[in-house]
Structure formats: C-alpha cells, structure tokens
Symmetry: C2
C-alpha cells in the first residue's frame, strides 16, 4: 500500500513536470510568433512586449530545474523515469535558449521599425513560418511522446538551414545594391540567424524526445545544410572605385 | 567495509567525470585559440583542421552524458554529489555549444581567407583574447571549485558584450565606406557574434560552478551589455545616389 502510494505520488510529480515543460514550450511558441509578427509589421510596441515576456520563460526554467533535482534526489528514479527527468532538464535548457532567440529577433524588430526603408522580407517570413511549424510539432511530439514525429522534425532542420543560406546570399546582394540599407540588412541577417538557431534547438528537443521515448542517444550526424558561413557575393565594382 | 568500498568507487567515478569535463574544456579552449589564429592569419588550412576537430568535443559530450546518467541510476547521489552531476550535465551542454561556435568562427575564416581585402581586425582580436582568458579561468574555476573566480567570470561577460556592440558599429561603418568589403564585414560580424556567444556560455558554466559549489541557483539578472541589436549607423548618402 505504501509502495502504491509512493508510485502514485511519483506519477503525479512526473505529470506536473511534463505540464511545466509544455507550459514553457507554449510560451516559447507564443514569443516566437510575436517576434515574427513585430518584425513583419514593424511594430516596436509589440516587439517591446516580446522582449519583456522572456523573463517568464527564464522563471519557468528555474522552476522546472528545481522540480527535476527534487525528483532525482527524493525519488531516485530508474530507466525510463530517469530518462524522462534527464530529458526534461535538457529540453528546458533548449527552450530557454529558444526564448532568448525570440527576444533577439524582437530587439532587432525594435531597431528595424525605426529605419526609413527595408529590403523585401518575404524569405524571412517564409523561414519564420517553417520554424513556427517545427516548434508546434516539437510540442506535440513531447506531449504525445511521439518518436515518429520527433524524427520527422529532425529531418526538417536541413530545409530551414538551406533557406537561411539562400537568404544570407540574398541579403548580401541587397546590401551591395542599396548601401543605404546596410544597417537594416545586417540586423535582418542576425534576425534570420536567430530564427535558424531556434530551428536547431527545436531539433535538439526532438532528439531529447527520441532519447526519452526509447533511449536512443542523439546522433551527432544530422542534416547540416547551413552553408551560409561559406557564402560570398562578389560585388560589381562601383564606378566610384574603378579609378 | 562494504559502505567504504562503495564510497571509494563513487569518488573514483566522480573524479573520472570531472576529468572528462576538464578534457572537454581543454579541447574547447584549444579549438577557440585555433579558430582565432586561423582568422587572424587568414589560414584556411588551420581553419579546416579546427572544423574537423569539433567532432571530438561532440564525442566527449556523449561520453560524459552517459557517465552522468549511469551515476544517477546506480549511485542515487544526494545533496552536493547530486549537484555535482547535474552541473556536469549542464556544463558539457554549454561546452558543446562553445565548440560549435569555435567551429563557426573557423568556417568564416575559410571564407575570409579567400577574399581579396579585409577591414582592420584589431577589435576582433582584442575581443577574442578576452574570451580566451574567460575560458581559461572557467576551466580553472571548475578544476578548483573556486566560487570567487566563477563569480568574477560572470562579471566580465558584460565587458565582452560591450566590446561586441562597439565592434558591430565599427563594422557597419566599414561596410558603408567600402561596399566591396560588405561580404567580408558580414562574415566578420557573425564571427564576432560567435565569439561573444562563447563568452556567454563560459558565463553559464561559471553559474553552474557556483551552483555546484554552494547550491546557488543562477540569477537571471546579469550584466547584459550587448546592445548591438539596437545599433544603427546612418549612411552618408553616396554620391552615386544623390541625383
């Protein structure tokens, strides 16, 4: 009877842990959507709200960590339960980073809202929607402990990386064609990089879900198609420099 | 006697865990120094070696994680021992990211080595040296479990962030003055951001050391002086666009 009681209490604590992780995931998704909206609509006020909203994610991370440490100390879990708790610890660390990156996008949005002209934002919006979809699926895969969905998320990260590489080249050419947009393009490139990194962290979470569900350790090899580090756009030499 | 035996075995496993974490820290420091050298000397071959070297860090992370999970499962540690193991898990996750960022710097170095002309690299080199010093101190603070040193590292992160913000403005002006260096400056800005992020992660590790040593949970408030997201350099309108 005492054993049954302990098991029920442990299950309740584990459920509370899952709920807290999901709450943090929901906040991250909301922050990302808000940051992308503020960027697309040049809405500095909305962006400022997103920046302020990051504190709630940090607070939840601290709470979840305290829960995991208490569970480890008091319950001394084994096998699947242990993996569940270790995965939560790793997942919230990724979620906290994702929240930071959403905040970074919002900070760029504040600056961009004050600039006189911006380059076309279509590629960035497309990339943003892809990453929002990854984050939504990541949350569903965690809630349902769905290894198939988690594996599919991991495979999609390569597409986001490829989109970012294209965008990097595109923005380099805008900068060369329209030097007055150099500041805007630079901030947009960093915003794009932050969005791409949110996709990377969603992929890390997907790998933690695979580990949680069936003990698979994440493979170090995954699609790495962000080749933007190697991108070069050669300028046509401006007339003023040809002499 | 059996108890004494178990304690000795546990201490040996904990020492092995510490040694593996430190080995990973040493590799990260070496990779960072190599990446900065390859950038400063435009040495694509050295940069390529650094890129290849990241796999060893990833491999060590996997090994340390397996060690921590085994220790949690078999030893069911309490109090300081539990914190020690949780801290190791969090520290190696930061070290893995630091290794990735060193690899990112090296990737930029490969591209930059192929470009015809670069802007002045003095600020970047200075920032790089500051972060290398932080990483070296981070390793020492972990090895000696030195909370005073760990707290000092955390306070220094603000200086690196401030240096990055200055550098961001500086490179925006280079791009406006010399459009033929836009590609180079963009890659250098991302390299600088990666170096700044290595400093952030060294700071996270310092906070994990504080937690390990005396159970202090990291404060969410720390010096945040990277204001580059808000930096704007307004262009003087080029002559070619004045008509």
């Amino acid at each position: 009877m005492a054993g049954g009681h302990t098991v029920a209490a442990f299950d309740a604590e584990l459920a509370a842990l899952h709920a807290a992780v999901d709450r943090m995931g929901a906040l991250v998704e909301q922050q990302l959507v808000g940051a992308l909206d503020s960027l697309a609509t040049a809405d500095a006020e909305k962006a400022t709200q997103v920046i302020a909203g990051d504190a709630a994610i940090d607070q939840l991370e601290t709470e979840v960590e305290a829960m995991t440490i208490r569970l480890l100390a008091l319950r001394q879990p084994m096998a699947k339960d242990l993996r569940d708790i270790v995965a939560a610890l790793k997942i919230v660390s990724n979620l906290e980073r994702m929240g930071d990156f959403a905040g970074s996008v919002a900070k760029r949005a504040v600056t961009l809202a004050g600039l006189p002209s911006l380059p076309p934002l279509g590629s960035l919006a497309w990339m943003g929607r892809s990453v929002v979809a990854m984050v939504a699926d990541m949350r569903r895969a965690y809630a349902d402990q769905d290894a198939t969905l988690a594996a599919a998320i991991r495979d999609r990260d390569g597409e986001v990386d490829a989109a970012y590489t294209s965008l990097f080249r595109e923005f380099l050419t805008y900068m060369m064609e329209t030097p007055s947009q150099i500041t805007a393009c630079t901030h947009l490139l960093f915003a794009a990089k932050s969005i791409e990194r949110i996709g990377d962290h969603a992929t890390n979470v997907a790998e933690n879900i695979l580990y949680l569900v069936d003990g698979r350790l994440p493979s170090q090899e995954r699609n790495k198609e962000d080749l933007s580090s190697f991108a070069v756009a050669l300028p046509s030499v401006p007339e003023s420099e040809q002499n």
